[in-house]
Each structure stands twice: as C-alpha cells, then as structure tokens.
C-alpha cells in the first residue's frame, strides 16, 4: 500500500511517499497507524479540511482499502 502526503502534511511528516506493509484494512486503521507512528502527523491529518483520496478518488468517511491501494492525504487546496 502506498501513502502519499501533499502540501504542509509532507512538511510535518518529513516524507511525501511511503509504503505501508502489512497494508491497513481501512482508511481509519491507516490514519490511526500513521498517528501512532508520528503524533504530529496524526494531529495534522485530523486538521480542518484535510481530505483523503483512495486510488485518486476523494473518499468521505471511512473506507475499506485494497492491499495495493494508493492513499493520498490532501490538505485544503490552494488553487493555482
């Protein structure tokens, strides 16, 4: 499972992309795992306006994740 961070989330975590093995079964489990590993990132992910995309589609609420999923965490978009 591939996890991508954008904008200030990548600055907080110090990485933009990482592989998570074994993969998390759900989005909430993945978020909890990331927060446990890095509480600063956990707080940033819980921040206002942060959205998640699974395989490049925005997901609202929790979602089941396939083992090979690409999960991206997106802070509020700034426009171009």
């Amino acid at each position: 499972m591939r996890v991508l961070l954008f904008g200030r989330l990548a600055d907080v975590a110090g990485w933009r992309e990482c592989a998570v093995e074994p993969p998390a079964a759900t989005l909430s489990a993945l978020t909890a795992l990331l927060a446990q590993t890095d509480p600063g990132l956990g707080a940033a992910l819980a921040g206002k306006g942060v959205q998640a995309a699974v395989d490049k589609a925005i997901v609202r609420g929790d979602a089941a994740l396939a083992a090979g999923a690409e999960v991206a965490f997106l802070p509020p978009m700034s426009g171009g």
Binding site: L4, F6, G7, R8, D11, A53, K56, A72, L74, P75, P76, M77, S78, G79, G80
Partner: protein, 146 residues
C-alpha cells in the same frame, strides 16, 4: 484538453494550435496567468500537483463549463513545480459559437482554478517559505457563479 507541465510553455503557440482548423466556432477567448514579482523582494513560487488526480479534477470543471456555456472546446495548460517570476502559470482557452459564452466560460474557469483546483502553493520569500491558501477575494470571485 487538460495538460499539466513542469516546464515553461509558450501560450501563444498553444493558442495558435487551439484556434487552428476551426470552422464551427466563431469565438475563442483566452486568459494567461503570469507569476507576478512582488516589488523588490525576490520570491519564487512552487505549485505541487497530484498528477492524475489534479488533471481529472480540473477536467470535471472543464466538463461543467462546457455544459453550462455550450462550449465547443476547452484547453487548459497549467504549470506545476518551481515557477520563476514572469513565466506563464496557466493558459485557459475556450471556443464557442459566439463571444459571450467564450468570455464567460474563461472567467468562470479561472475563478475555479484560482480557488479550488487541486494544487498546493508554496511561496519562497526572504522570510522563508509558506503555504498559501485562497484569498478572500478568490473565494468571492468564485461565489459569483453560484
């Protein structure tokens, strides 16, 4: 067509190609956004995109504009990565039967792109780098279309 590029592009050449070969469209309107220098303080702009996702999201709005204004065609070329002052950031071109729809669709698409498009903008200035979010004016401009 929606295209992201991390290299400088020539808006004039893009517009010529977009206009070429049209027989049905009586109007093409275009807008070019340029990275503006901020007085004497040197600053550089960096736009982060999510390739694949960013084009798809912009494409949804281009489709909405096509339906709303009855466009024949839309071209959006958008930079990402590091952008130097004076370089084109974005080109929007719209083709329609008559000018009003082309002008309005261009304006509509730029208001969307400036406030809602999936980019994350970082300004590198003398005081360090900061992430930029849409301004109140950008949001007011977008609300004109509701």
């Amino acid at each position: 067509m929606i295209r992201l590029t991390d290299q400088p592009f020539d808006p004039g050449a893009e517009l010529s190609a977009f206009c070429g070969g049209r027989t049905e469209s009586g109007a093409v309107a275009s807008f070019v956004g340029i990275a503006r220098g901020d007085g004497e303080t040197a600053s550089a702009l960096e736009l982060e995109a999510y390739p694949g996702f960013t084009e798809a999201e912009i494409g949804r709005f281009a489709d909405a504009a096509t339906t709303r204004f009855g466009l024949h065609d839309v071209l959006i070329v958008h930079r990402h990565g590091a952008i130097a002052t004076g370089e084109a950031i974005v080109l929007v071109a719209t083709a329609s039967a008559h000018r009003r729809e082309a002008f309005e669709a261009c304006d509509y698409l730029m208001d969307y792109l400036k406030s809602r498009a999936p980019f994350w903008k970082k300004e590198h200035g003398p005081g360090g780098a900061r992430w930029v979010e849409p301004t109140a004016r950008d949001l007011d401009d977008l609300a004109r279309w509701d």
